[in-house]
Subunit: 506 residues, 2 copies
């Protein structure tokens, strides 16, 4: 057996994937659990990543004609009850506000007082409260479309939580649009899914499949839910974003009516679409390795860290001067919509420890500079994605930094595409299907599982059976399903109109 390389994260991905994930979040200083059940603290390095995600998406939303607004945190219980499937979907896990003050109780401690006439729900999503508002905004077809997005926090009282992937409170954006026609609403639903796909691939370097959810996996109250699905490094699928065609369901529930061009009263057609801080979980599980996080440069909070190597006080001033000069030059460069962001880490701690710190945080490029580098007019550079290290001429490094960052971005995307290709199989026999999803039977569990592109009869019974037996679900029905040809359902053998994506999932 080859000597094990020492890694910064214990356990490694192969040893214990879920625990590796928690340790990466911790080691990269992205977030931590709070004392409030299921709620996390997003730490500065994690929040800076979220700010970059928000800025990138917000730009794309605005370019596609959307504006931002802000709606109330609280939803009256009666609003939630207006759409039957919707309330069924969210009533089981919601934070309920019942009182509006605390006062001294019999034991001296404070107890809830001032009971509300109607309980308020902390929004798990805002279709109902926004629908009630749109009902007031819309009178005529001239008031349509409404293309509004909201950046907000939402709460879903999940029983099992995991930082970024599933938390009681999370940050997200929710787009809510209202249209004159069914066709326009469908176009919007598809357009925003495409925005998500572009963002996931071009900014996050996370390839995604797109398609439609089965009826059982739909958003409560939607006519159709479209989704982007990514493959994580444990070969499980992560639903990373959804775009819902809501038909007239919520328009009817909220009374969003307009007078048409013909003078009749019609219900509007609405959509909603959202992505959340879960994207950060997806980035970690797509790119991070056994040494910690790897940030795709287009979203990295900082691009380059400069570490001065100072062995004695005499060296301090010349080394720091040289470092600062390089930092200033780097910061004049533009990389993908932002200035190149540079950290000069001159903290007075052990250089090795400092270096590992930044490796674990996933900064794309690390540069060490000591007296020898100054003598050679060079820098010692390491890229996080490939771990390549090299002494390189200072000017060449500065001039090439933008290309370097872009190369790292593309390398990460290619690696993720290759990984997904390696673990995506067309499977036609149920035995093979079972084997694919049952790592216990295999000697190498780390090279097992993934996306099975298999035929399905469109029957809910087969979907349920596979879920019960293997905890495998249909992640999406690809838009181009027909191109895969007809076949026989992997479960019951009945005719299938084409393959769908089966996987275990988060």
């Amino acid at each position: 057996m080859a000597k094990q390389k020492k890694t910064a994260i214990t356990p490694t991905r192969v040893e214990n994937y879920p625990e590796w994930y928690q340790q990466v979040v911790r080691a990269a200083d992205l977030a931590e659990n709070s004392d409030v059940r299921g709620c996390m603290v997003i730490k500065p390095w994690g929040y800076a990543l979220w700010e970059n995600i928000r800025n990138g998406l917000d730009k794309m939303f605005k370019e596609t004609g959307h504006v931002n607004a802000y709606f109330p945190l609280f939803i009256p219980k009666s609003y939630l009850e207006k759409e039957a499937e919707h309330v069924d979907g969210f009533a089981k896990e919601c934070a309920v506000v019942t009182h509006h003050r605390l006062e001294a109780g019999p034991d001296g401690g404070l107890v809830p007082a001032g009971e509300l006439e109607e309980p308020l729900i902390v929004r798990p999503t805002s279709e109902t409260i926004i629908g009630a508002t749109y009902a007031k905004w819309v009178e005529s077809y001239r008031d349509l479309p409404i293309l509004v997005n909201q950046w907000a926090n939402v709460v879903r009282w999940e029983m099992r939580t995991r930082m970024f992937l599933r938390t009681a409170e999370f940050l997200w954006q929710e787009g809510h649009t209202a249209h004159e026609t069914e066709a326009e609403a469908w176009e919007e639903t598809r357009k925003m899914l495409e925005v998500y796909k572009t963002f996931a691939e071009e900014y996050m370097a996370m390839p995604v499949l797109t398609g439609e959810k089965t009826a059982g996996e739909r958003f409560p109250g939607a006519v159709s839910t479209l989704c982007i699905e990514a493959m994580m490094q444990d070969r499980k699928a992560l639903q990373a974003g959804t775009s819902h065609f809501l038909g007239q369901n919520f328009a009817k529930a909220s009374g969003i009516q307009y007078s048409s061009r013909e003078g009749t009263k019609e219900y509007a057609w609405t959509t909603s679409w959202g992505v959340s801080t879960r994207l950060i979980g997806g980035m970690i599980m797509t790119h991070a390795d056994d040494d910690g996080m790897i940030m795709p440069p287009r979203l990295a909070p900082s691009h380059v860290v400069i570490l001065p190597i100072i062995r004695n006080e005499e060296e301090r001033e010349p080394v720091l001067t040289y470092c600062k000069e390089i930092a200033v030059k780097l910061r004049t460069k533009r990389f993908h919509e932002r200035d190149v962001e540079v950290v000069l880490d001159d903290r007075d701690i052990n250089t090795g420890e400092k270096g590992w710190n930044w490796v674990k945080k996933g900064i794309p490029v690390k540069v060490e500079i000591g007296p020898r580098d100054i003598a050679n007019n060079s820098v010692f550079m390491a890229r996080r994605d490939t771990n390549e290290k090299a002494g390189i001429d200072k000017e060449a490094f500065v001039d090439g930094v933008v290309d370097l960052l872009e190369d790292i971005q593309q390398t990460l995307l290619k690696r993720a595409l290759d990984y997904r290709a390696e673990f995506t199989k067309e499977i036609d026999s149920y035995d093979e299907f079972v084997n694919f999803f049952t790592p216990e039977n295999k000697e190498r569990p780390e090279a097992h599982g993934g996306f099975s592109m298999s035929h399905w009869c469109d029957g809910e019974a087969c979907e349920a059976k596979i879920n019960d037996e293997l905890s495998v679900t249909i992640r999406c029905i690809p838009f181009n399903r027909a191109e895969s040809g007809e076949g026989a359902c992997i479960c019951c053998g009945k005719p299938s109109r084409g393959r769908v994506v089966f996987a275990k999932s988060y």
Copy 2:
């Protein structure tokens, strides 16, 4: 009596100031009340203003060394109880979450279920939950200072609400810092007040006084509260931002302890500081007039609106082409950290109505363009602040737009400074003081009230008496109080160390 000019807002400021305010918010399309008690919907034009406020402040926070993070929405009741004054201050008006699901009740409707062991409070402010987190982050003096800001929503169950000025839910930022020494924490407290003052004056064109609150007006749990206070157009004061020196109160309550350079265990010194969507209320009441909102250009969601004047279909294409060409040229210009933002409003509605629309929204510059303007190679321009209108050469307009916007910004600031100067009086007799604050006695209530710079003995009894009799409070004790010289308390005649600022307030 002179013929009354027709105004876009009814009533006018003089006729009914509070109602005028509500009508401006509505006419400018900034916000509306929701069906959820005390919660508003911030509409796209209002939210874009908030985004610009956020971006401007965020830049200043980062320039002064702060980073953003995000902490839980919910605060366990026991956390709030840790600081005695703090809980007293917030227990009377807080949203209490007591249950985590809804289930079918006896009548078929849904009722709260899954009672929590400990109620959770929707954060009214986050000192306690952030303090608990810092207690984990801090071990040694090397971990200090912590300089973190959070952009978030908060909830205070106010009984009487008014859009932007006082709402149950509002958006804000709250900075929370922890320091090694008392002196550093004091420096931070003052520095952030200075940031607020600079922002208010340079971005919002809203002059503010700075000073310290009296003991009775302090933030619950603070050792000292510093504030910025602005004068509104009804001569009332608006507290627009606060910066709190918290001493070791919250560090002790939360257990934020560090090992000092000498090896002893010490409590950290903390500060907190915040501004909120209330700033928008302040901007409205500083700048808006009887025709609606007036946006200071540095924060305006858009700078220029172009209104094509099209009388028939033949004119449409040439007019729109000319308009677009100007829009493109304007957008290449930079004004104060942003590209010049231009709206080309080609909606098919009455031009007069469209024009009033933008006047009410407060866009700084309005440009009308018809066939005659094309023939003259000119535009017809109106500035919102002075209502000046002029036909002007097209190139000259484009080339001068940045100077024009800056002139509007400075004109608004000067106007507000003049207004405040006009209604700030040094008053030394109680009769005059009473008269100053009692408009019923005067023929011209609109030229009455303001800031009374008067002597005070530092006694709580005098402060309370003035508040009870006149609803007038001490807005702040100016930092340079001593410069106003010694005198006799306006209320009791005892010695005073200098003048303080008395006013009615929001």
